[in-house]
Amino acid sequence: MAIEIPRIPLGKWIEDGLNWLTSEYSMVTRGISRVTQTGIEWLNESLMWLPVWALLAIIAGLCWKLANLRLAIGAVAGLALIWNLGLWEPMIETLTLVVIATLVAVVIALPVGIAAALSERLYRAIMPVLDFMQTMPAFVYLIPAIPFFGIGSVSAIFATVIFSMPPAIRFTTLGIRQVPVELIEAADAYGATRGQKLFKVQLPLSLPTVMAGINQTIMLALSMVVIAAMIGADGLGSEVWRAIQRLRPGDGFEAGIAVVILAMLLDRLTQSLRKSRKS
């Protein structure tokens, strides 16, 4: 005897919820959309306004100062190749999206991470949410982004922030929890308030770990920003997307290599930032 078990309409519930959010909070989403759009355009235009050689010089100088001469030379060579391939503008667009998404993610992640480190209850509540955010296939975030923010870069930022935020939260929490008990005890023994303990002991000591989290966030943001080309984000991702649609592997790999170069540059830069803080 087969018992008919009705299918649970999970998808419909989520859709209803999203529809409700979209219609009830359209003011909010539209506001966020406008602010973000302005930010993207402003940063993009500023970076494009700079002549290529000036930006190269700035990045080379940054690499040299924060890391070493080798990274500076590598950065200049890589970026010059991107320019040569005619991918300068999409590269700048991608960089803009990564920078803004990372900024938003970090601004949210730091306080949440700190709070989760200090409150066991919040920690337990937040960890499954982070697991969810990280394991959900990245593409899925693109779908609700469209009704919220429409097709384009703002949706890309929204999906990217959600996808890339978890490591920054996790590492912040981890960093603070890893501060040796005896140092906390020392701070307590000298009569430090919670705030003093946080800003004078816990945060400075967790900084290397927090930086590692931010590095992860940047890397995830870069990968997501490329995928977000599917919902109309500009940049290197849309070059790849176009190459797929026209079946032109050469173009696809050129854009792909540009992504790799940008990824390596951002990774080495943030890692050197972390090391220089450590020593």
Partner: protein, 403 residues
């Protein structure tokens, strides 16, 4: 000598139960059950049970016990890094367990500085910034705390290292930073939690001596935790002996050695190096002859001949020591026809207090081997120690220890 001193911290009936049913554990304790039975019956650990003692103003009190005796718990109850379950801890009229959050912070800032076994220095701060920590927390302004911390570092012999980071220093130096951090804070009580236990034995001995000097100079009330009886006997004015969360004996090092309260203490002290606690007083003998500073050289010479000695201590009327006269110098005075000995005294001898540990006396015998003068706080001559007496006393102690 302690009866007249002010009590700085008064601890009464202090108990600490680790676990979620402290009342149950204490009820069983009151019925006479001991730690293991309470643990078995309730799953609660009786960390401290009915601890009462006083810490006097300016003394160095050692709390001594093996691991698990509750000594770390006890010191942390004093500043409430661990919450006591019941009992009183009164410092300057304030009962610490009853303080609210704000008052507790205030109390910790004013009264307690702590030095930790593993130093607990902040690795991201320089030596100077570490030393400033307590003052920074209290909101002392930058210039002032900078200077105070600099002085504290100088006191522990670390001037010149201000800009180094803790990981660039050896263990001994790191603990000096820990000590400087505590001293700079200028709290009324110094808490030292196994402060020297992580150091190697040579450095440890040095640090003990330095602590004693500092403590003597500053008269800072100090509570020192250790598991090492040698250390306790070396530095303690008084010792509180803990076992299984209870006090076994409280007393001066001499009292504990000569009148151990029970077999536990007796077994404990069998392993002690006795030369550490034998003092100058025990090897001292009465001075057979002295001269007054107003006496003439002939009198002095005659006394030296009478007692077959070739130098003699010179005192004032109140027996306070002014110097030493050698026979040769006295003879010269006689030849020159001088009437008083005042101009020919030498200061080339050592004086010690009666409490000076015997092992320190060895190094003091100069090649001239004048007897060491034992004087009290008013510089009055109590007696002398000669080289042979020290050795005799030690040999005797070794024999007693062997039996």
């Amino acid at each position: 000598m302690n009866e007249n001193r002010n009590v700085k911290i008064r601890v009464r009936h202090l108990s600490k139960v680790f676990g979620n049913q402290p009342k149950k554990a204490l009820e069983l304790r009151d019925k006479g059950l001991k730690r293991p039975e309470i643990l078995e019956k309730t799953g609660q650990t009786l960390g401290l049970s009915d601890i009462s003692f006083d810490v006097y103003e300016g003394e160095l009190l050692v709390i001594m016990g093996l691991s698990g005796s509750g000594k770390s718990t006890l010191i942390r109850c004093l500043n409430r890094l661990i919450e006591p379950t019941e009992g009183e801890i009164v410092i300057d009229g304030e009962n610490i367990p009853e303080l609210g959050d704000k008052a507790l912070l205030e109390c910790r800032r004013r009264h307690f500085s702590m030095v930790f076994q593993n130093f607990a220095l902040f690795p991201h701060r320089t030596v100077q910034q570490n030393a400033e920590f307590g003052l920074e927390i209290r909101g002392v302004d930058k210039a002032e705390r900078n200077e105070i911390a600099r002085n504290a570092l100088k006191q522990v012999g670390l001037d010149g290292w201000e800009d180094a980071y803790p990981n660039q220093l050896s263990g001994g130096m790191q603990q000096r930073v820990g000590l400087a951090r505590a001293l700079a804070n200028d709290s009324t009580v110094l808490l030292m939690d196994e402060a020297f236990s992580a150091l190697d034995p040579l450095i440890r001995g040095d640090m003990q001596q330095e602590l004693l000097e500092l403590q003597h100079r500053m008269q800072k009330t100090t509570v020192f935790i250790t598991h090492d009886l040698d250390e306790a006997l070396t530095i303690g004015d008084r010792i509180v002996l803990l076992k299984d969360g209870e006090i076994v004996q409280i007393g001066t090092p001499e009292e504990i050695l000569t009148r151990p309260a029970d077999d536990y203490v007796r077994r404990f002290i069998e392993g002690v190096d006795r030369s550490r606690i034998l003092t100058a007083e025990s090897a001292m003998r009465k001075v057979r002859a002295t001269v007054r500073d107003t006496d003439g050289p002939r009198t002095a010479l005659r006394k030296m001949h009478e007692h077959a000695i070739d130098s003699i201590y010179v005192t004032r009327r109140d027996r306070s020591l002014v110097g030493l006269l050698e026979a040769e110098a006295a003879e010269n005075l006689v030849k020159e026809g001088k009437e008083t000995i005042a101009g020919a005294l030498t200061q080339d001898y050592r004086t010690v207090g009666p409490d000076e540990p015997m092992h320190n006396l060895f190094a003091m015998f100069s090649e001239k081997s004048f007897p060491i003068a034992v004087v009290d706080e008013q510089q009055r001559l109590l007696g002398v120690v000669v080289k042979g007496a020290v050795l005799d006393e030690l040999a005797q102690a070794a024999e007693e220890g062997g039996n």
